[in-house]
Symmetry: C2
Subunit: 386 residues, 2 copies
Amino acid sequence: MQNFEYYNPTNLIFGKGQIAQLTELIPSDAKVLMLYGGGSIKKNGVYDQVKEALKGHQWLEFGGIPPNPEYDILMQALEVIKKEQITYLLAVGGGSVIDGTKFLSSAALYEGDEPWDILKNKIRTFKGMPFGSVLTLPATGSEMNSGAVVTRAETKEKLGMGGPGLFPQFSILDPQVITTIPQRQIANGIVDAFHHVLEQYITYPAGAPLQDRIAEGILQTLVEVGPVVFEDPANYEAGANFMWSCTMALNGLIQKGVPTDWAIHAMGHELTALYGIDHARTLAIISPNHYQYNFERKKAKLAQYGERVWGLTEGTVDDKAKQALDKTVAFFHSLGVDTKLSDYAREYTGTAEQIADRFRARGWNGIGEHKDLAPEDVHKIVEMSY
Amino acid sequence: MQNFEYYNPTNLIFGKGQIAQLTELIPSDAKVLMLYGGGSIKKNGVYDQVKEALKGHQWLEFGGIPPNPEYDILMQALEVIKKEQITYLLAVGGGSVIDGTKFLSSAALYEGDEPWDILKNKIRTFKGMPFGSVLTLPATGSEMNSGAVVTRAETKEKLGMGGPGLFPQFSILDPQVITTIPQRQIANGIVDAFHHVLEQYITYPAGAPLQDRIAEGILQTLVEVGPVVFEDPANYEAGANFMWSCTMALNGLIQKGVPTDWAIHAMGHELTALYGIDHARTLAIISPNHYQYNFERKKAKLAQYGERVWGLTEGTVDDKAKQALDKTVAFFHSLGVDTKLSDYAREYTGTAEQIADRFRARGWNGIGEHKDLAPEDVHKIVEMSY
C-alpha cells in the first residue's frame, strides 16, 4: 500500500425529506446565491423545497448553468457574487452545477486578474467561499469531493481544478429526486460512476486488498441496482443505493494507497470539448479500447474484476480479463449507452491526431497510472475508438 | 436504506515515516500536552520521533494512561491541563490513550462541576479542546471517530461518551509501529476490529448492499492479513492493511443507513469492568452466544456473512449461519483468543445475574438492533458464555 492522506470534511445528509435541513445548515447571517441549471428543479419540486427552507435567509438565484459548466456563464455568476456581496453559495443540481459552484467558490476569493488561470495554471484552492449542495442527479461524486471540471466553448477546452478548500460544507442527497430524472441521464450517471471506480481500480495489483474490495463493492452494487433504477426510477431502495454508490465512487476513499489511472477521463474530456458528447458516454467510448491497448499491464486487475464483479470462474487470466471487458461493454449497451465515436459523431476523421496534438501542446507527455502513455499512445487509443 | 448523516473531518495521514508531519499539523502557537500509556513508546522509537517533531513547540507530557483509561488518572491529567493552560492535546498510543484524550478534550472545556457526569449523563460534546493522535496499536478505530470509553475502578464501571466535537483533528498511522507490538495485542486488535464490523453488519437485511459489501471487505481483509501479522508483525504490507482495516471498521462509514447492534459491546464492557479481561477478548466471549441466542433474527445476515466472508456454498440458510459461527470461533482460537468466560476467570458464578442487575439499574431495558433485549436476555447470553 502506498502512503496516503485522507481528509474529507463534507457533511453528507442522506435520505428522504432532508432538503428542509438547509435552514440549519446555512449560517443565518449569510447572503446566499443559489445556483442551478436548466430549470428542471422548478418542475420536480426541488426548487420549491429549497425556497421554503431558505425563507429566513437573504438569498438570490442564478440559473442556467449548462451541462459541462461553461466558463463565460460562470463569469456572469461571478459578477453577481461580487456586485451583490454574496457570502455563501448553494449549488442545487448535478455535477455540472456543483462543479461550476466550486469554480465560483475559488474565483470569488481569487486575487489574480484572470480566473481562467486557476484552470490553465492548475492553481490549487486552499480557501474558497463556503458552499453547500443539494444533489439532484447522482453521477459525478462532486457532492463529496474537492475537484471540478470547467469547459470553455471559445477554445473548446475542458480542464480540471481543485484543492482542499473546495469540499462542499454539506451536501443533501434525497434519493426521491431520482424519480423525475430522464432515463438517459440515469444511464449516464451509472456509467459515469462506474468509470470513476474503474479509473481507481483497473491499474495493477498494489497490495491494497481493502481498497480493491470497496471498489468492487461499488461496481457490484451499480451492476445490481443500476438496471433497476434505469427501468424504474421510482424504486426508492434501488435509487438510494445508486445515489450512495455514485458518491462513494469519487469521494476520495478508494484511491487512497493505490495507483490511479485517469487516462480515460483525459481522453474523454476531449471528445466532450470537440463534439459535445455526454461526459459518461465519452468514457464508454474510450475505456474498452484503453484497456485493450494496455491489456498486458492491466490484465491482472481486469481478471480480478471479472472474477469478483462479474462472477467469472473459467479460463486463464487472459481469458477472464477479456471476458470482463466484454461484460463491461454489454453492461453499457444494456443501458442504451453506445461505445463507439462513430455512434455519436458523423464526421470524426482526424480526431485522434487532433487530441494527440492537444496533449502535446499542453505538455501531457505521460498519462495513466505509469505516467508513460505518450500522445502517440493516445492517438492510437482514440483511433481504436472510432 | 435508512436516512443518515455522514461527517468525519479527521485528517488521516497514513504510511511510513509520517510521524515527522506532526511539526506542521499542530499549530505553532499551541501549548501541547502529549499523553501516552505504559511507556512502550519509549522502547519502540515513537517517543523519540514525536519529540523530534515537536522541537519547535512548547509541550509537556503525561504518561501512564492504563488500558481501559481510568477516570482517576485522567483527572490527574486534567489538573495538569488546567494548571499549565494547555491548548492542544496529542495522544500517542492505542485506543485507550486516544479515548482518554477524548475525555480530556471534553472535560477541559466542560462547565459542570463533575466531569464524570459527561459519562454518567451521556452529555454529548459539541466542542472539545483540539487534539490529534499518533496511533501505535491498531484496534479500536478511535483514531478516526468521535467516541470514547472510560473506566472507573472505584465503581467498576465502563461507560461511553462522544459527540461531533471529539474527532481527532488528525491521526498519524505509520504501520511500522506494528513491528514491536506483542503478539497478544495484535490478536486483540484483529478480534476487536472484527467485532466492530460484526456489530454493524450482523443484524438483519436492510436494503444497503454497498454497506454490506464494505463490511464484508473489511472482514475478508482481516481474515486474510490478520494471521500474517500475528505470525510476522514485521510484514509491512500485511501490517498496513491490518491497520487500515481497523480504522475503517469503526470510522462511521459502514454504520450509515443500516441498523446496528452493539449489544456485544454492552455486555463485554461489563466483563472488563468486573474481571479486567482485555476488551477484545470479552467480545469473543460474548459474540458466539449472542448470535446463537438471537439466531432466528440474525441468521439471514449470518448466512450471507458465511457465504461472502468464509466462502461457504453448501446447505440451507440455517446451515450456513451455523457454519459461519463455527468458522468465526475457530478464527479467534487460531489467534490464541479463548471464547469462554471460564477460560479467563476462576470464579464467575453469578456474573450473568450481576450484569443483568447492572443493566436494570441503569434502565437499559432494550439493547441490540431491535432495542428489545431485556436484562433477562442479557442474563441468558452471559450465562451461555461461561
